[in-house]
């Protein structure tokens, strides 16, 4: 029996006693549900519109006024097509961008977690001079505006001739690494000091206790921060757009979607763009829903701790 159930069971009796209040309570409920529905529509409608548009043919997309479900231009019957999805899968540039994004985001995540766990352990559990300063530096780096280093990084990359994918992997750590270090520091700090001390008494070096005791304990934190780093890297647009200017084959998903062009050069193929948008979004939404609790926890940890 949950509280809600108890409440629901209790409500009718209370309402029956105070009959005068009954209509007011009912109106309140109606208002509340209207508000909830309004919020749900606000949150979900644009994505619904993308799905709706992705299932239309070019002719259906040009229908005015636009229909809220795909309809046949002549008979007005519901008529759905998957040709946009087919076209997107046959679009080499888009498929390549999926591979590029997966490679870049995974590499950034793994590197950030590895390097971030080292730094987080040092900052969270070890005693050394200059710790407060390092923490300040890391915190200020979490707010670093990427655009400030754009020209500098681009010049370096052009001068050294580094290709776009490694450039992205390296430069994305500008925003994933400080965040990862910050959150992992907090997690390491929350682990009891006794763990480290009893390991030391047993003759383990600090690094051994880090690897064998503390690291396994922070696995949940690693999953959360890793997920957030992955999403941030997957989402990145400014560096990706700039670095792939002269290397279109290295384009990542956001760049490919922003610059999407159909098989035949024509006006913007919004049907295909919407299909690509839906295809990219569904796995992300699933990922986010599966790890819902962790993500919300991680976001608030990252933010509230600030």
């Amino acid at each position: 029996m949950t509280d809600a159930a108890v409440q629901r069971a209790a409500t009718p009796t209370r309402a029956a006693v105070t009959t005068a209040r009954k209509p007011r309570v009912r109106w309140k409920r109606v208002g509340f549900w209207a508000l909830i529905v309004l919020i749900a529509v606000f949150l979900l409608f644009p994505f619904y519109w993308a799905i709706n548009s992705s299932l239309k043919t070019e002719a259906q997309l040009q229908m005015t006024p636009a229909t809220f479900i795909p309809r046949d231009p002549v008979t007005n019957d519901i008529s759905v097509t998957f040709q946009n999805y087919k076209a997107v899968f046959q679009n080499d540039a888009f498929v390549r961008s999926l591979r590029n994004s997966a490679l870049v985001a995974t590499s950034v995540t793994v590197l950030s977690l590895l390097i971030g766990a080292f730094a987080g352990f040092a900052l969270g559990k070890l005693r050394f001079k200059g710790k407060a300063l390092s923490l300040y530096l890391i915190l200020s780096m979490t707010m670093f505006p990427q655009v400030a280093v754009l020209t500098g990084l681009y010049a370096v990359i052009l001068n050294l001739g580094i290709s776009a994918i490694p450039s992205m992997i390296l430069s994305y750590m500008l925003f994933t690494l400080p965040f990862t270090v910050w959150v992992l520091t907090a997690f390491f700090q929350a682990l009891p000091d006794d763990l480290l001390q009893s390991a030391q008494v047993d003759g383990a070096t600090p690094f051994q206790s880090f690897r064998m005791i503390l690291l396994p304990l922070t696995a949940p934190a690693l999953v959360t921060t890793g997920l957030l780093a992955f999403i941030a890297a997957f989402n990145e647009y400014l560096f990706a757009l700039t670095f792939t200017t002269i290397e279109p084959n290295a384009r990542t998903v956001p760049v490919a979607i922003a610059l999407f062009s159909g098989e035949i050069a024509r006006q913007e193929p919004f049907g295909e763009i919407m299909a690509a948008a839906v295809l990219v979004t569904i796995p992300l939404i699933l990922l986010v829903l599966i790890f819902q609790k962790r993500i919300v926890g991680g976001l608030t940890a990252g933010a509230v701790k600030g």
Binding site: P65, I115, F144, G152, T205
Partner: protein
Amino acid sequence: MAVATEPKQKAPRRKKTSGLLRSEQRLAYWLLVPTIVILIAIAFYPLGSVFLKSFTNDTFASAVETEWVGLQNYSDLLSVTFAELPPEIDPATGEQVIDPETGEPEFLSSVEVLPREPRRYKDVFTFGLFGSQYVLGATDPDFILSIFDTMVFTVTTILFEVLLGLGIALALNTAFPGRGFMRAAMLVPWAILTAVSSRIWEWMFIDTRAGFFNVIFQRLGLSDGQTPWLADETFQLPAAIVIDVWKTTPFIALLLLAGLALIPGELYEAAEVDGASKWRQFTSITLPLLKPTLAVALVFRTLDALRVFDLFQIVFAQKKYSMASFAYYQLIDSQALGYSSAASVIIFVIITVFAFLYIRGLGITSD
């Protein structure tokens, strides 16, 4: 974040651990080396080079030798001037010309008023005040306008996001069937890539009745269904604000929901017993206790909004700039490395000033 720098060991063990302490310190430095090396390579070194380049006329693929130009880039980016537009006098009557259609008095055009030598000022915008017309001129009106627009964008989006986010958080903070679904739905806008959401909204804002907004506005009788939302100066910023509010409000609401969950329920029960109204409970319990969460949300969102790029670049390209998209186009389209660097430095300074003010004003410390 609470940082325990003091060792919590008992006195007798201190002697034994001093050797350990030294090795611990050495280990700590080694563990920090990779992070520091990477941050130097991708943040501090490029930041330094951007700063140096901002004093040069460096241009990609240019035959001209790169030279130090001192503060030239900064002065080109930031020079502004105010001027009053004199009324347009009809030579025949000697009186101010009145527009026959609108009945408004006419003024000379800004081109005739703004200085042309030694550098040409172009108008950023004109505005009327107490019956006179003024013009704001700048040597680079695009950049000045991008600062202005980014500020308006930042203040407006944050205002709406915090108010709407608070409303949504309060509505969802009650127990009702479907609460789990709503919480999941809140993650949808957040999970959608910014590039993707920009394209979806671009399509919804398209300038014919194939677009959602033109259908709705026409049905409501508010327009003819041909409004060019993204091309018309009047609607550009409001459209950008709507897109960002949709994308980010759920994030704020999630943060605030987490903050609300931390407020003990007994406080409300006690207030209920004391006969405090719902509004009173909100202003005396909810708001004060939510302040830290609100402050954090505010800082993060402000710094994010000030560097907005994806949305402006994808939806408006060069029709309207944010500060960041201006710097990007200077770099990529104009290949003006020096000029773009100077713009980047200005953006960096603006964002740093905001961060400082916030951290001072809201009393956020590392502790």
